[in-house]
Amino acid sequence: MKSLFLSAALASVVAMPAMANKAFVSNEKGNTVTVVDTDTWEVLAEFDAGNRPRGITISPDGKKLYVAASDDDTVRVFDTETYKEIHTLPSGPDPELFVLHPSGNPLYIANEDDNLVTVTDTETRTILAEVPVGVEPEGMGISPDTKFVVNTSETTNMAHFISTEDYKIKHNVLVDQRPRYAQYTDDGKRLFVTSEIGGTVTVMDIDAEGAPTVAGKISFDVPGVLPEWLQPVGLKVTADGSKIFIALGPANRVAVVDGATLEVKDYIIVGQRVWQLGFTPDQKYLLTTNGNSNDITVIDVEKEKAIKSVQVGQQPWGVVVSPN
């Protein structure tokens, strides 16, 4: 009887829809990661993640969660099922944002205090290279062909194009004040860099060799909101490149930009001090971290509407959703 019951339970597990993914949210002040079910939007767990967790990403197989514990000067690696720490990775001091090679190795880490990008082998847990970049490195993006890692430096105001082959900087592009985030389109033909204090997004065309040319700038205007408050931070582009979502920090809004015309179509009101963004794997939903209201907002990507907010830990910073 008991075994019968068990197998029935097992069958129901197998039959569960594949869309039940987990969103992992780093809480910068709470020193935790909150786990949210992207089907029910319920909080499943909250676990300790080290001091000042900010950058967060996940391995391609969905088994390992990488968290930049900035004040611990390390990257902590957690099991996405048990939430136990597996090990740490050497990261260099004050790791903030990072980007993982699509193969799962290596991890490219921005070290804000030391003007370095650290390249860390996620298997051998060793540092492969340290690349000197501008002052206060922050944003990290990788080209879809994996030939370039782009780092933005907040006080130098540049996007540095680092070759993943020899770890040398091949191009530097000046952008507006305090560049925060770098994101390629999936086809690799465009790169977006957000400038928080400049209030703009620099759009670059990327040629076949990976060389950038500035193609234009996106700026923002919301009636009744001081222009100084429109501070672009996190940015995501849909896989087909048709929609660009840009978190506008203290303006408490996410801008929706047409990928073809680069015109702002709409502003979606979300929680307070919206910081980083993350898609669900099917790109049906976009999640925003709202640092001052301690929640995440769920945006319906097709309808371009906020549909739900979920309370998480203290000062949510980054978000990543497990792959299918």
């Binding site: 000197p132 002052v135 006080t155 105001n157 040398k168 530097n172 507006d176 100084e228």
Partner: protein, 395 residues
């Protein structure tokens, strides 16, 4: 060792770059004029040897790091002299071919030295002098004011007081000329924003020993008497640039009221606990370099050199006039850990900047306050707005 390694790596990287960029050398000088002065009332505020210079050191590192990607090198000379040697020191700096000069001087010295610098086509960054006249009828076409004026600080305090609905002020000012000038700024601020000076008193600087073993015993008896029978007021505003009495005011008033200005809640450009808008990493860099907390003078010198560095990378020039023109143009903006870009007022060369209100431990508030609107920028509600300034040097 680590630093040497980084420079070496940077050089390697530079060698590997495909871009063909022209090398540029940017030479600047910080000239600090140290008048004889008494120690501050609080020993937490004593002047470090590297006051201001530490900011220059950090700025050279920041600008230099950016410069490695462009072939630009930054070198800043730092000179501290007593007032009587100031002119000779400036001559020597100019003779060295330096055309970017950050001055840490009082109003009179600044004007005289700026005029001398102008003869050689040099740009002066005012990192210290706060006189309103320097931004008004005494302005100079070759001076960029990075330090806020007394009017900006007073307006920052006034806006907060009115936001709090504390419209009636008890103004207590010192007897020295700079205290009087600051008191003027508070009177103007009251008028500008709709506050009222309900009571005004002068605390005379009698030159007594300000800090003695038993100083607090006397103060505890004298100050309540000094402040009694004032007309009704919600807040006490202290104008005490000479640092003679203000730190004693809180807790020693006849009528218990919050104190703002030279004590209590103070208007500052930076303080060592300021963390918002990414300032934490700036503080960490500064502390690692100097082993102490940052002071306003350090920040203002750092900001002066960052203005220079930013103008250099955007214009790819080290020509003084090109830099000056760019800085006061609409194109210029700079992130300064204040949440909004800082820019220059084209009518008098004053840097627009938010002012932090600091209680000695934390940032309590930041002015401009919500609701103080302006057709161009809320930052222009602090200090001399275009119609208020008679400066014509930039026309």
């Amino acid at each position: 060792m680590q630093r040497i390694l980084m420079v070496f790596l940077a050089a390697l990287m530079w060698g590997g770059m495909s871009n063909d960029l022209a090398a540029l050398e940017i030479k600047a000088a910080v000239l600090r004029i140290d008048p004889p002065r008494l120690a501050p009332i609080s020993r937490f505020e004593k002047f470090p040897e590297d006051n201001g210079f530490a900011g220059a050191q950090l700025a050279d590192e920041d600008n230099g790091t950016t410069g490695t990607f462009l072939g630009h090198t930054y070198e800043t000379m730092m000179v501290a002299v007593p007032p009587e040697e100031a002119d000779a020191a400036l001559d020597a700096i100019l003779a060295d071919g330096i055309r970017f000069i950050i001055l840490m001087a009082d109003d009179a010295d600044l004007t005289r030295l700026a005029d001398r610098a102008a003869q050689d086509g040099a740009v002066v960054f005012n990192a210290q002098a706060e006189g309103v006249a320097l931004r008004d009828n005494e302005c100079r076409a070759n001076v960029l004011h990075v330090a806020p004026s007394r009017a900006m600080r007073a307006d920052a305090v006034a806006q907060f007081a009115l936001w709090k609905r504390w419209p009636r002020w008890f103004l207590i000012h010192g007897s020295n000329p700079e205290d009087q000038a600051l008191a003027d700024a508070y009177r103007r601020a009251a008028k500008k924003f709709g506050g009222r000076i309900a009571e005004e008193r002068e605390f005379e600087d009698t030159g007594g020993s300000r800090r003695t073993d038993t100083g607090h015993v006397l103060v505890q008896r004298q100050l309540p008497v000094f402040t009694q029978d004032a007309d009704d007021h919600e807040v006490v505003i202290a104008a005490d640039e000479s640092d003679v009495f203000a730190p004693y005011l809180p807790f020693h008033l006849w009528t218990p009221r919050p104190v703002m200005g030279a004590a209590g809640l103070r208007p500052v450009t930076i303080h060592g606990a300021h963390e918002a808008w990414g300032a934490t990493q700036f503080q960490r860099r500064f502390e690692e370099l100097t082993g102490r907390y940052i002071r306003e003078e350090d920040y203002q010198v750092w900001l002066s050199l960052r203005v220079l560095g930013e103008a250099v990378i955007r214009t790819m020039s080290n020509d003084p006039q090109t830099i000056l023109d760019y800085a006061i143009s609409d194109e210029f903006e700079l992130a300064a850990f204040k949440g909004v870009p800082v820019t220059f007022r084209p009518w008098n060369g004053q840097l627009r900047q938010p002012i932090l209100l600091y209680d000695g431990r934390i940032t309590v508030s930041v002015s401009p306050q919500d609701g103080f609107l302006h057709q161009v920028s809320p930052l222009d509600t602090l200090g001399l707005d275009k119609p208020e300034s008679s400066c014509t040097a930039f026309n």
